[in-house]
Structure formats: structure tokens, C-alpha cells
């Protein structure tokens, strides 16, 4: 209890200095940029996910630095970090933990051995290579922020982020995440190939001298929690909030989309927009925030109608059209 009291005091001290917090988040972004060349938008959206207390799904072809990016984000904070390499034979207990029999002075007893999910930042690498059962276990932990094993419930640490990566589902040996499960990711980030000059820099950076680029820790766990509280307090204009809601509702009504986004998407869009505003050192949400985050929030929550797919349309394209009608 005393530890919690201390946390509150720290939170109050940290909480009122919004400018300092925003400066530290900006420093974290700069530190990540030292190691991740280009991909500024993806890095920004990753930080938005953290500030909004959400989870992110990163999708790209192999070799584009998804794992490095998530690991670097964890390094610039003092958050505990664990990595789960998903494979088809990975069991749920390999993630959540399991009870083991341990010899003690008083005899044998069952002890819960926490799995890698008990960390502040969990990198679930290639999540679509795990079986649906294992995916479900991870996603349940992600949603409930707790793990139940042998009748006991264990709280996950706070803050808790799952940053999952996946390769495109048309590659062999993958299990597509169920649509209901993907809804639990606040953002789906697409990591694209770098530009030519960026790739030159990447090659130079990682083929000369040291194999790793050092980064500094710039923000603490308490500061992240304080920032998360401030993010939720970022004011948003009523009409802008309504625009976000109308956009999400439009995904359920347009003919191009077979299944639209849920109200969870509306909440995710608004809070992510607030986080982006905070990241940009603003005190209010702007239209740009909604515009920038509409696709990352909605692209994995909608299923296109087969006619739209036949016409070669993409979720991002349909979202852009819906967005253009409103902003």
C-alpha cells in the first residue's frame, strides 16, 4: 500500500508538468529514430499506442525491422520487456505461465511460474504463426490484463502493452488472426519498405563498427502512466468526436464493407487521436489526428465486400473515401 502511495505522489509530481512529459516523449521518439531509419510514421503510431494504453499489430514482410523497432521502444523506457517467438507448437501455457512442482523445506508445493506475458512490453513476434488456441490465450490476457491459471488470477503489470508482429497472411505456415481477436488491437501498423536513401543509411548503420546502435532511456514507467492519464484528459471538440463516431458507423453502413467496425473502434479512434495530439505537444485534438489515425484504427476491423475486393479496392482506400466525405 505504501508503494502505491509513493506511486501516487510521483504521479502527481509528474502529472502536472505536461510540457516536461511531452518533451520526454519527444526525446524517446528521437532515440528510437537513432536505431530505426525512416518509418517515422510507424514509430509515431507505436508511441501513440503506448500513450493511449493500447496494443498494436505490426504487419510487414520479414526483414523490415519490426522486432528491432519494438525492442528499441522498450529500451528507451524503463519498462520490462519480454519477447515471445510464436511458432505452431507454442502452447498457451508457454505464454501465460504454468504451475510447477517445487521442492521446498516444507515439502513439495505448486508454484506458478509466470510466463513471458508478465512484462510491461510484450513483443509477440510473428503472432500469426501461433495456433489459434495460443493466439486466443495471448489476446485474452491482452484484453483482461490478467491471467488465470489453476483457479488463481494473476494481474499483469501496469502498464502493459502487446506489440505483435505478423507477416502477411498469404505466406505459408501462418494462421490468420480471427477478426474478433484483431479488434483488440488498437492500431494495425503497416511497415513498408524504406526508400533508397533510407536503405543506404540502414546498410551503413548496421554494417560498420558496432553491430548495435546505443539508445538512451528517456522516460520512466511513472512518467508513461502520467502521460497516459493526461492523454485521456486531452479535450476534443464535440463535433470532432462526432465525426470520429460517424466515420466508424459509416463502416457498418457502406456497401463496400461487409463487416464494419465496433464501438470499440470509436473509442480507439478518439483516444488514439488524443494521444497523437499529446505527442505533437498540442492541448486539443485536431482534424489531422483523426485523419492520420483513421486507417490504422479501422483497417483491421473491417472486412471488405467481395465486390469491392473484386474491383481491387483496399480497406485503406475505402476508409480514405469515408474520411474524405467527412473531413
Amino acid at each position: 500500500m505504501s508503494e502505491r502511495h509513493t506511486d501516487d505522489e510521483t504521479a502527481v509530481e509528474v502529472g502536472d508538468d505536461v510540457d516536461a512529459l511531452q518533451a520526454k516523449v519527444e526525446q524517446a521518439r528521437e532515440q528510437v529514430g537513432k536505431r530505426i531509419v525512416g518509418q517515422q510514421e510507424v514509430v509515431e503510431q507505436l508511441l501513440v499506442t503506448i500513450l493511449a494504453d493500447g496494443n498494436a499489430l505490426l504487419e510487414s514482410n520479414p526483414g523490415l525491422g519490426k522486432t528491432t523497432m519494438v525492442r528499441t521502444v522498450a529500451e528507451v523506457t524503463d519498462l520490462s520487456f519480454s519477447r515471445i517467438q510464436n511458432t505452431p507448437d507454442l502452447m498457451p501455457s508457454d505464454i501465460t505461465g504454468t504451475e510447477i512442482i517445487r521442492e521446498t523445506d516444507t515439502g513439495r508445493e505448486f508454484v506458478f511460474e509466470k510466463g513471458p506475458v508478465f512484462a510491461n512490453v510484450v513483443l509477440a513476434d510473428e503472432i500469426n504463426r501461433a495456433t489459434p488456441k495460443t493466439q486466443a490465450a495471448l489476446l485474452e490476457a491482452m484484453q483482461e490484463r490478467q491471467v488465470t491459471a489453476a483457479g488463481e488470477t494473476y494481474e499483469l503489470p501496469d502498464p502493459f502493452f502487446v506489440l505483435a508482429t505478423q507477416n502477411p497472411i498469404d505466406q505459408g505456415g501462418t494462421y490468420a488472426l480471427p477478426e474478433a481477436q484483431t479488434d483488440r488491437f488498437m492500431l494495425k501498423l503497416l511497415v513498408d519498405y524504406p526508400e533508397y536513401d533510407e536503405e543506404q543509411t540502414i546498410v551503413d548503420l548496421y554494417t560498420k563498427g558496432s553491430e548495435t546502435v546505443p539508445v538512451e532511456q528517456t522516460i520512466t514507467r511513472e512518467e508513461i502512466r502520467a502521460a497516459q492519464r493526461h492523454v485521456r484528459d486531452v479535450p476534443i471538440a464535440d463535433d470532432l468526436r462526432d465525426t470520429a463516431i460517424e466515420l466508424v458507423r459509416a463502416t457498418r453502413e457502406t456497401d463496400d464493407i461487409e463487416f464494419g467496425a465496433s464501438p470499440r473502434a470509436s473509442m480507439a479512434l478518439v483516444v488514439a487521436a488524443k494521444a497523437r495530439a499529446f505527442l505533437h505537444t498540442r492541448s486539443h485534438v485536431s482534424e489531422d489526428d483523426i485523419r492520420a489515425l483513421a486507417a490504422p484504427v479501422l483497417r483491421h476491423r473491417i472486412i471488405l465486400d467481395f465486390r469491392a475486393e473484386r474491383e481491387g479496392r483496399t480497406p485503406d482506400g475505402v476508409i480514405d473515401e469515408l474520411l474524405a466525405e467527412r473531413l
Binding site: 505522489e9 502527481v12 510540457d19 486531452v234 479535450p235 464535440d238 470532432l240 486539443h284
Partner: protein, 368 residues
């Protein structure tokens, strides 16, 4: 404020100090600089202060919008007044009274102010009706402009502050008092200091309105002075002209100016029959007689025929001779004052003697 009950007392001072720093960043010199040092109550005071200042700022924004709407409405009402007045003055509708007497109370007050005695003041009917229409237009123009939310108008006119002001407006409406809300209030207040209510005034539209008003004013003056016609002025106005003052002079005038251009006198060719009563003859009056007569008894006519002539005149060669003739004539009359043949003329005034007939006599006398 919502966090206040859960904040430990020792942390409350910290909160107040931190709040103080925040206020100093965004609201330099404001009352909130001291509010934050109040310890536990600092956060609430600073929050209330920021929100109050924001509410006041929104009130100022609304007043600026009212001012802008009034400026436009006044200009448009002035144009309507001038146009309507010009129209009524030009058309002069029969149903429009020439003058509207002022109401008694207004009349008395104006009379007192103007100190013009006991008179009944009135305004021209055209002006009164035009003023009524202008007032109606003014009210409608203001109502139309303030129909849209005023703060939104200000936001539209000041794009840099649009989103922040819109959000702050909603935050104030929601009684938001978080650190981020206070930061937003301070930010908006700073930005409002840089924005201007002049952006609410559509300069081009206002300029066009003013130009139209000036043109209508000129047209109104033109109609009042010389009438509605621009190029077809009345003939009498052109001939007499404003440079010839009206006088009471009834003496000799330039014949050319009175009768027009001179022309050659020619013998007339029109013959008229006339019947003249005569006395002193022995004949009945009712008898038919033929004129010109042959000079029979009682006719009083001399022998020769009478040729009719058309009236005409010869312009004097020198107009200054008229004064000489007039003087000469006066002397003759004064000299022949007892002459029975001119007994009436001897008492005529100078003005009467200046007639054309006198001139003819003068000429005769002069000639003799």
C-alpha cells in the same frame, strides 16, 4: 478538481506548485500566478480562474461578432435608405404623403433642442418611409448574421485558432478542469491575443457597400438640385440660368432677350373683316358696311386704303440709347405737364414710362 480528495496533503502543495509553474507558462502575469500557491486549493482556484478567463474571452469573441454584424448591417441599411429615398423622390407615388409630422413628444423635444419656437416639425414622406425600410433591413441583416453561432463565425474567420477555440468552447461547456484543459485555455487565450476581430468584417463587401452608398448619395443630391434628368434639363432652366439673378427691375430690357431674335418686318397678307360701330351718322348701325370704306361720312377715316402689318420690332442699334430715350422722355413730360393731350402721361411713373409704347414716343420725339 476531481483528483483533489485523493491527493495527499503533502502532495497537495506540490500540486499547487506544479500548477503554479503551469500557469506561469501559459498565463504570465495573470491572477492564476498567485492562485497556484494556495496549496490544496490552488489547483481548483487556478482551474476556475482559467475557465473564467476563457468564458470571458468567449464573451469578448461574441461581442466582436455582434460588432461586425452591426457594421455590415448599418452599411447595408444606409444603402437601402438612400436607394428607397431616391426612388420615392423620383417616382413621387401618389399614396405617399408629402410630409409626416413628428409625434408630439418628439416634436416638443426637438423644438426645445433646436430652439426654433413653437413650430410643428415634419419629415419628408419619402425619407420617413425609406427610414422605416432601412430599419427593417438593419434588423434583418443583423439577425441573419448572428443566426449562426457567433464563436463559430470567429473560428471561421481566424483559421489558426479555429480548432483550439472550438475545443476550448466545448471544454468550457463541459466544465473541463483537467491540467490539459487548463493548458488549452491558456493556449487559446494567448492565441486570441494574436487574432483579430477585424477578420470578421468582409472588407471587400463593406467597401462595395460604401461605394454604392456614396453613389446613391450623389444621385440623391443631383435629384434634389436639378431633378432626376441627367441630360435633358428643362429649357427655362437653361435659358435663364442660375447666373441670372431674379430682380424686380421693370425698366427697359434688351429686346432680343425679351422677344427673341429680331427678324425682318414684312407686309402681312391676311385680311380680316371687322365691324365697327359708329355714331354721328344718320344711318342705322345695323346697316352693312364694307371696310375698308371709301371714306364716306361718319366713318372718320381718311381716304386711302389700310394695309395690315404683322407686329415686329427692330432691335436698337445701341442698347445704351434706351437710357437716353428714357431721360429725354422724362424731360418732355415734365415740360408738358399741363398739356391736355398728355395729362395722363404726366403723372406716370418712371417704370410705366419705360414701356415699349413710351419708347416709341421717345423715338418719335427724338426723331422730331
Amino acid at each position: 478538481m476531481t483528483d483533489e480528495p485523493t491527493v495527499p496533503t503533502d502532495a497537495g502543495d506540490t500540486a499547487g506548485a506544479a500548477d503554479d509553474r503551469s500557469s506561469a507558462d501559459t498565463e504570465p502575469g495573470g491572477p492564476s500566478d498567485t492562485a497556484g500557491s494556495a496549496g490544496d486549493g490552488g489547483r481548483g482556484d487556478a482551474g476556475d480562474d482559467a475557465r473564467t478567463r476563457m468564458e470571458r474571452a468567449l464573451g469578448e469573441v461574441r461581442r466582436e461578432c455582434w460588432k461586425a454584424a452591426t457594421v455590415h448591417a448599418v452599411a447595408e441599411a444606409a444603402v437601402v435608405f438612400l436607394a428607397a429615398n431616391l426612388l420615392f423622390v423620383t417616382v413621387e407615388p401618389s399614396w405617399l404623403p408629402a410630409r409626416y409630422p413628428l409625434p408630439g413628444s418628439v416634436n416638443e423635444r426637438l423644438v426645445d433642442v433646436l430652439d426654433v419656437g413653437r413650430v410643428s416639425l415634419a419629415v419628408p414622406g419619402s425619407a420617413a418611409l425609406a427610414a422605416g425600410i432601412a430599419v427593417f433591413v438593419f434588423v434583418v441583416a443583423v439577425a441573419v448574421r448572428v443566426r449562426r453561432p457567433l464563436v463559430e463565425q470567429f473560428e471561421a474567420a481566424n483559421p489558426p485558432v479555429r480548432e483550439a477555440l472550438r475545443t476550448a468552447r466545448d471544454a468550457v461547456g463541459d466544465d473541463a478542469d483537467s491540467a490539459m484543459a487548463r493548458r488549452l485555455y491558456g493556449d487559446v487565450l494567448d492565441r486570441l491575443g494574436e487574432s483579430s476581430g477585424l477578420a470578421l468584417v468582409h472588407g471587400r463587401r463593406l467597401a462595395v457597400t460604401v461605394v454604392v452608398a456614396v453613389l446613391l448619395s450623389v444621385a440623391t443630391v443631383q435629384v434634389a438640385v436639378v431633378g432626376p434628368a441627367l441630360f435633358d434639363a428643362p429649357a427655362d432652366v437653361r435659358e435663364e440660368g442660375p447666373d441670372e439673378p431674379e430682380t424686380n427691375y421693370t425698366g427697359l430690357r434688351d429686346g432680343d432677350r425679351v422677344l427673341g431674335d429680331s427678324e425682318a418686318v414684312e407686309a402681312g397678307d391676311e385680311e380680316l373683316n371687322a365691324s365697327i360701330d359708329s355714331t354721328g351718322g344718320g344711318q342705322d348701325v345695323g346697316g352693312d358696311q364694307q371696310f375698308p370704306s371709301d371714306g364716306g361720312p361718319g366713318t372718320g377715316a381718311s381716304g386711302g386704303g389700310v394695309d395690315s402689318q404683322q407686329a415686329g420690332f427692330a432691335a436698337p442699334e445701341q442698347i445704351e440709347d434706351a437710357e437716353l430715350v428714357r431721360e429725354y422722355n422724362r424731360r418732355i413730360r415734365s415740360g408738358d405737364g399741363g398739356d391736355g393731350g398728355t395729362s395722363g402721361d404726366g403723372e406716370t411713373s418712371d417704370a410705366e414710362s419705360g414701356g415699349p409704347g413710351d419708347g416709341a414716343r421717345g423715338q418719335d420725339g427724338d426723331n422730331s
